[in-house]
């Protein structure tokens, strides 16, 4: 079925296009907008963006696959990103990752069976002074301990 934006999101379109001198520049914002609604960038989403921008689906798919925050396959309702780059690694990021895997019962890159959570590792999220850290959906959680991680993950599974 063809992808459609909800009427509220549809209203944002005109404002997005007005920011740029051409349509193509709206590619990243539109992919974000569509993914926000659909959860991931499906073929239908790619087609919808291509039509809005007047570019080929190949262009949009090329863009969607270049950036790590567009999901080109179905993913969980929530995303857990554990930073593993040096400053966080110096504060035990590897232990945080292993703990998340154990607690969620999945490996990095996988989604829990109930579809609630996808676990990712992230590269430096600009939170080095408050390492170790993880991002859950839009929120940063900093100065983590394993106990804090447990509380956060339990809250996610329930939501």
């Amino acid at each position: 079925m063809a992808f459609q934006l909800t009427p509220e999101r549809e209203q944002e379109l005109a404002e997005i296009f007005a920011r740029y001198p051409n349509k193509m520049a709206a590619c990243l914002p539109l992919l974000h907008l569509a993914q926000e609604q659909h959860g991931w960038v499906s073929d239908e989403v790619v087609t919808w963006v291509a039509e809005k921008l007047d570019v080929s689906t190949a262009h949009v798919f090329g863009v969607a696959t270049f950036y790590s925050l567009y999901h080109t396959h179905p993913v969980g309702k929530h995303h857990v990103w554990v930073c593993r780059t040096l400053s966080c690694a110096l504060h035990g990021a590897d232990d945080i990752v292993k703990h998340c895997e154990k607690r969620l019962g999945i490996h990095v890159g996988e989604t829990t069976a109930d579809g609630a959570v996808t676990l990712h590792t992230a590269e430096c999220l600009a939170s080095c002074g408050t390492a170790p850290m993880m991002q859950i959906d839009r929120e940063y959680h900093e100065n983590l301990t394993l106990a804090k991680v447990d509380v956060l993950l339990d809250r996610l599974r329930k939501s």
């Binding site: 193509m24 974000h32 950036y67 590269e123 170790p132 929120e139």
Partner: protein, 455 residues
Amino acid sequence: MLQRTDHLTKRYGIPDGFTLTRYLADGGYVQARRALSMTREELVNECKAANLRGRGGAGFPMGVKWSFMAPTVAPGRPHYLVINADEGEPGTFKDRSMMEGDPHATVEGCIIGCRAIGAHVAYIYVRDELHLAKDRLWAAIREAKAKGFLGAKPFGVDYAVEVYVHSGAGAYICGEETSLLNSLEGRRGEPRLKPPFPAQAGAFGMPTTVNNLESIATVPALMRLGGDNFSKISSLHPKEGGSRLYGVSGHVNTPGIFECAVGLTLRELIYDLGGGVKGGELLAVIPGGSSTPILRADELVEAPNESHPLHAWHGMSVLDVPMGVETFRGLGTMLGTCCATVLSDKACPVLAMHNLMRFYRHESCGQCTPCREGSGWLERLLDTIVAGNGTMDDLNRLHEVANSIMGNTICAFGEGTAMPALGFLKKFRREFEEYIRTGGRSSTNRLALAQPAAE
């Protein structure tokens, strides 16, 4: 020389520090208003007098960069100001603090910057993950617009300025300016060949200046103080002026962002501001983001020749050299983003290099073969070494691969991978050899001091 300042960080940590009310109470937007009555040349000269070296990593003089823009705007060739806030260099977290803590300084800087280069539109390119930073910037833009500071006639002056936030989508390479421009245009974030430089053909093929976020957010302060006075804050004046954000993370007791006059030393950053090394003795420090070659704590400055720019520090510890663009180049590393990552002697340098090379392999955009393949080779060779199966040949191969990336790629990512790799190999040659000889038993084989659970 340790000299704390608050020209950029006055509103940090204040509950309503990010609001227009607070910004106006501190004299905000006075400089933007003044700038709109000044000529482009006057603004560029003010910035040149400030000796502000770009805060993004390369340290290019900002006023000079502004002066590269065509003096008159040709018909159908609008100028653009693009702000690089794709902060992603491992160890770097200063721009984020600025966007979250004082977004109006960025918006005011954009108005002044637009005027200085003849642009009417500024795009702030923020990495997608920084949702709070983007929300704060958008809110600041809306507040400024409602007050009539942005739009068709800012402050009633007939010089339209619009500022937009453009969100990235997860790609370290988009911090490279031409890649950022492609990403802004709705393309894959692959770097472009230079020339043409952005000042000739940048965003949408039009003349463009790309400034780092901290650089542009510093502009209101340098205007307030006057370029010359701003420059004199620095102990490296007139080569490098002003105050800037210093970051310190890793094995220190009080990590964070601190604003100081330019010319601070690493020893001051680590011990006075960072509260000293946590859990051991200082092993090494990466001075300004992971692409800047590592410095060992026991290294001394080798500059016996009187003509050497670092001769004044000959024989002294590298930790006592003022942190500047030129001085750190003289040390064989770079100042980079001025955010240091500290390793105590409990951390294994082999694992640290492995961690970073995995990062570069993951983030190589794949456009140029030497970088795409080379970064993978570096990681795989280190996989072997860390697994305890490395040979001395692997060590030589690491050198060979890193040297084959250098100079053979479109953008500086290649050097940004190879230079720190060669840095680790040179500074920790003995540790690498022992690691290989003992299959890793010579090392702590850890990066973290303790499990986070212990806290």
